[in-house]
């Protein structure tokens, strides 16, 4: 199974790299999602795949001899929670940026770092979205 998972990991990272390098912010969000899922997959792989016994101690026993590695699940759950909140924040940010800047194209977003040849860009650019007063 490992080679298949490793291949899936590689494909996901490649897809994510392609999407993140896009100029469209929507694709960037999707790329970040795929990338974080690839990271989760790599944690799963790092814990080794194979053992089918769940890591639960049966009633009356005090320990189990062999079981699946429970730690990757805990790590992945933590990572999922974190990436969930980060992506939720990112979506809210991109959505409000879209509303205020009127574009989804990162190349067209030059508010923070204006080009040298257009110093007064904020005044010159046609306002696609009205600024709130």
């Amino acid at each position: 199974m490992e080679p298949a998972f490793a291949l899936a990991f590689g494909v996901m990272v490649a897809v994510a790299a392609y999407l993140v390098m896009s100029r469209n912010v929507l694709r960037i969000v999707l790329g970040l999602l795929v990338l974080s899922n690839a990271a989760n997959l790599s944690i799963l792989l790092a814990g080794r795949i194979g053992e089918r016994t769940p890591p639960l101690v049966a009633d009356g026993d005090t320990f189990i001899a062999t079981s699946a590695n429970p730690l990757p699940q805990a790590l992945i759950l933590t990572a999922i929670v974190i990436s969930f909140s980060l992506v939720a924040f990112t979506v809210v940010l991109f959505e409000s940026a879209h509303r205020r800047l009127g574009t989804l194209d990162t190349e067209a977003m030059r508010e923070a770092e204006p080009r040298d040849d257009e110093p007064a860009q904020a005044a010159k650019r046609p306002k696609l979205v009205e600024e709130p007063a």
Partner: protein, 511 residues
Amino acid sequence: MMNAHLLLTLPIAFPLAGVALCAMLWAKPGAQRIVSLIASFGLLLSSIALLAAVHDGTVLATQFGAWPAPFGISFVADMFSAAMVLITGLMAVAVGVYGLVGDAKAREQAFYHPLYQGLLLGVTGAFLTGDIFNLYVWFEVMLISSFGLLVLGGTRAQLDAGIKYVTLNLVATTLFLMAVAFTYGMTGTLNMADLSRVLPTLENQGLVTTVAILFLVAFGSKAAVFPLFFWLPAAYHTASAPVVAIFAALLTKVGVYAIIRSFTLLFDGDAGFTGPIIGAVAALTMVTGVLGAAAHFDIRRILSFHIISQIGYMLLGVAIATPLAIGGAILYVIHHIVVKANLFLIAGAIKAAGGSFELKEVGGLYRQLPFLSVLFLIPALSLAGLPPLSGFWSKFVVIKASLDAGHVVLAATGLVVGVLTLYSMLKIWNEAFWKAAPEGAEAALKSWRNDGATRVAMLVPIVTLAAITLTIGLFAEPFADYSMRAGEQLLEKSAYTDAVLGPRSLAEARP
């Protein structure tokens, strides 16, 4: 005498309580201010207690939840991390007081205090944790708080900057997470002390070096080194003055801390390969940063590029990795945090008194405010490395270490970049303080003179930090001595691993 559990918990508990209580009181900005200041002072006091306990070379460790290492999550304080926590506490108070004025009302509407405490929580946790996955979690706590702080005002420039900042930092932390996964796959452990013992015993050392480079890329993005720094100059200058001051003081330094920690404790096995890479990165970081600064006329953008350039000096120490060089890097980090935060605080004061961050729109401040001018010169000349200020000694140690190790090119780069830094600082001096005031600058000056509360809240932190810079410069001996011993402690890994795992090596006990 407090026990180790309490000493290691309090610096984390204070900002956590700050986040929690400020979030509960989200509709009452006045109460949030008090809570936030108390939490910051608590962090400062508990970090002083922590430093007092470890300054003689002892390493404190605790296992949260009493799960024994290496299975539970360890928290460790050695001389290096205790110094970093102390400087964090100092910045928390200084910037916290500064942040009470200016656009404080607008910031507080936008959840400023909980995010500010969240940032401190993430930074402190990252300095104290002894578990590599837990380090990732603290990075994320720090990151999400910094996202919120960056876009606090919701202006167009901040949203644009936020997109770039968020995207590049998310990619970097995800790489960090993957590197953690690979480390776990190789070793079956995440405890840094345990990793330090297990990693050299692995058969496949090539894989260890590969993962080390992956960590270097991830931490390097956080530390804003060449060529991974682009998020920093795209974002920092859009945030408000206290926010950018605390960012400049702490965020990149957590990346530097992580690089120093991982390349002394974990990945020192292949220094012949990683050393030259870090050295080249350090030199290029110094040069690109200082050249970027030369091109700009917005004070905050100049200072942002200088953060990058200064990170290079710290990495120089890591690249050379002699006790003197590591000690120099530590001294550099401590000096730099104070100086850089202070420069951004002064930039905020220039904006308040002169009306703008844009150098072409301000001037004549020396005639009007000679006191502020002197206050600017102290951190500015220290940043450039002029004696007898703190920057001189830290540059001196780092460059001496590189000469001792025979890295003449790196040392020469450091000296030239110091001169170019002086050029940028003099540019700010000439434009903002020396040249005649432009038309229409009187309004801002008048409001500065009339608003006593703003003056006091801005100048007290600036004076305090300038005094610390002078102290490090004039009485360098104890600071240098502490840094050198901290550096030796880092390279002598047994103190750290013994404190966490006990003297018996678990690596030996493994089959």
